[in-house]
Symmetry: C2
DNA sequence: CAGAAAATAGACAAATCTGTCTATTTACGG
DNA sequence: CCGTAAATAGACAGATTTGTCTATTTTCTG
C-alpha cells in the first residue's frame, strides 16, 4: 500500500513513524482532526517537530496516513469477524453487524473516524475527504462479495443498502453512546437480505 | 422555541439577528463550523463585531442557534412533503425519501449539517453535539408517527431502522455528490415497511 | 425634535496555528 | 571507531483565533 522508497530504511525511523501515527490516531479520534494541533501531538508523543515533518509533508499528509492505517485495521477486523462466522452465507454477512456491536460497546468509541473526516473536510475534492471515502468504498466491495456469496439477485444493490444501515448505525451509536443501533441495523439487514433473494 | 425576553424587541434588532443567522448558516454549511472564523462571517455579513456579540453570547451559541433554525426548516420541509403525498400511509412514509432525493440533487448540497455538527464536535456532552442530535430525535419521532399511521407492529423499531437508512444516505450522497442514495434508501425502506406489517 | 437604544469601526489582548530553520546531540552500521 | 543519518530543542515567522473595550454615529420611538 504505502508506496515509496525505503532505501536505507533504518528500523528506528520506521519506529518513530509508527509511534507518531498511533499517537496521532489516538488524539485525532478523541478530539477531532482540526482541533488537535501539531504542538499538542508532538508533546504527547514526545517527539521533535522536525522529526514529524521529516516523515510527513504536512498535517494533512499525516491525517491521510492515519486514515489509511485505520482503514486497514477496520478491514482486517471485518475479515476476521466474517471468517470466524463459519460457512453460512447469511451468518457471514450478519457477522459484520455483530462486529459493529462490539465496536460500539467499546468505552472510547466516538463515532466513525471516516464519517468524521468526511464531515470535518466537507469538500469532496479534499485529499482527506477522498481518503475517508475510499475506505467506505472498500467496505462496500466487501459487502458486495458477501452478498454475492449469499446468492442474492443484485449483490451491488444490497451492498449499497447495507452500507446505509452501517453508516446510519455509526452515527446513531456515536450520539447515543449505545450499542443498540447495531442490533437495529442487524435486524434490518436480515430483512433486506431475505427480501433480496 | 427560542425562549428569552424580547421585552422591547425592536424590529431592526431582529432583522440583524436574522441576517447574521442566514449568513452564518451559508458559510458554516459551505466550509465547516470550525473553519469559518468570526471575522470572516462579519465581513461577509457586513456587520460589526459587537453587534454579533450583542445578539449571541459566543460563537458556540451562534452555531447552536443556526442548527435550531435549520432544524425547523428541515422539519417544515418534511411535513410539507408528507402532506403533499396524499393519504396513502405508504406513500406518506416514502415521501420522506423523495424529499431527500430533491435535497441531494441541489447544487450546493454538502451533506447533513447535523451529522457534520456531530462530527465536528464529537464530545456528546458538547452543546452543539446535543443540539444536532435533538434534531435527529425529532425526525425519528416524525417517522414513528408515519409508521404508526401505516399500521406496523412496532412503529418505534421501524422508525429506528429508517433513520439509519436516512443518515447513511446523507453521508453517501455527500461524498458521491449523487442523489442515488435516496433511491437506494427508498427501496430499502419500502422493503422494511412491507416486512414490518 | 429630543432621548434612548442599536449599530459601527477599530484597536487590542492573549493565545494558538502550521511550518521553517539552525545548531547540537544521539545512535547506528560498516 | 569513525562517518553518516536521524532526532532533538528551541527560536522564529506570519497569520489567525475568539472575545473585550471604547468612542462615535446611526436609527428608531415617543
Amino acid at each position: 500500500m504505502t508506496a515509496g522508497k525505503q532505501k536505507s530504511a533504518r528500523p528506528a525511523a520506521s519506529a518513530k513513524r509508527r509511534h507518531l501515527l498511533s499517537t496521532a490516531w489516538r488524539l485525532f479520534y478523541r478530539d477531532g482532526y482540526r482541533t488537535v494541533g501539531i504542538d499538542t501531538l508532538l508533546a504527547e508523543a514526545d517527539v521533535a517537530k522536525m522529526t514529524l515533518y521529516n516523515h510527513f509533508a504536512s498535517k494533512e499528509d499525516l491525517i491521510v496516513a492515519v486514515i489509511q492505517r485505520r482503514s486497514d485495521e477496520v478491514l482486517d477486523g471485518l475479515v476476521g469477524a466474517v471468517k470466524a462466522a463459519g460457512r453460512s452465507p447469511e451468518r457471514r454477512l450478519l457477522a459484520v453487524f455483530d462486529w459493529l456491536k462490539t465496536l460500539f460497546a467499546s468505552d472510547d468509541f466516538k463515532g466513525c473516524a471516516f464519517v468524521r473526516a468526511l464531515s470535518e473536510y466537507p469538500d469532496p475534492g479534499h485529499p482527506i475527504h477522498h481518503a475517508a471515502w475510499t475506505h467506505k468504498l472498500a467496505v462496500r466491495k466487501m459487502l458486495a462479495v458477501l452478498a454475492a456469496e449469499a446468492g442474492v439477485k443484485d449483490p451491488g444493490a444490497l451492498a449499497d443498502a447495507l452500507r446505509l444501515l452501517i453508516d446510519g448505525a455509526l452515527v446513531a451509536a456515536h450520539a447515543t453512546r449505545s450499542a443498540k443501533p447495531a442490533i437495529v441495523a442487524r435486524q434490518a439487514a436480515a430483512n433486506l437480505l431475505k427480501a433480496a433473494r
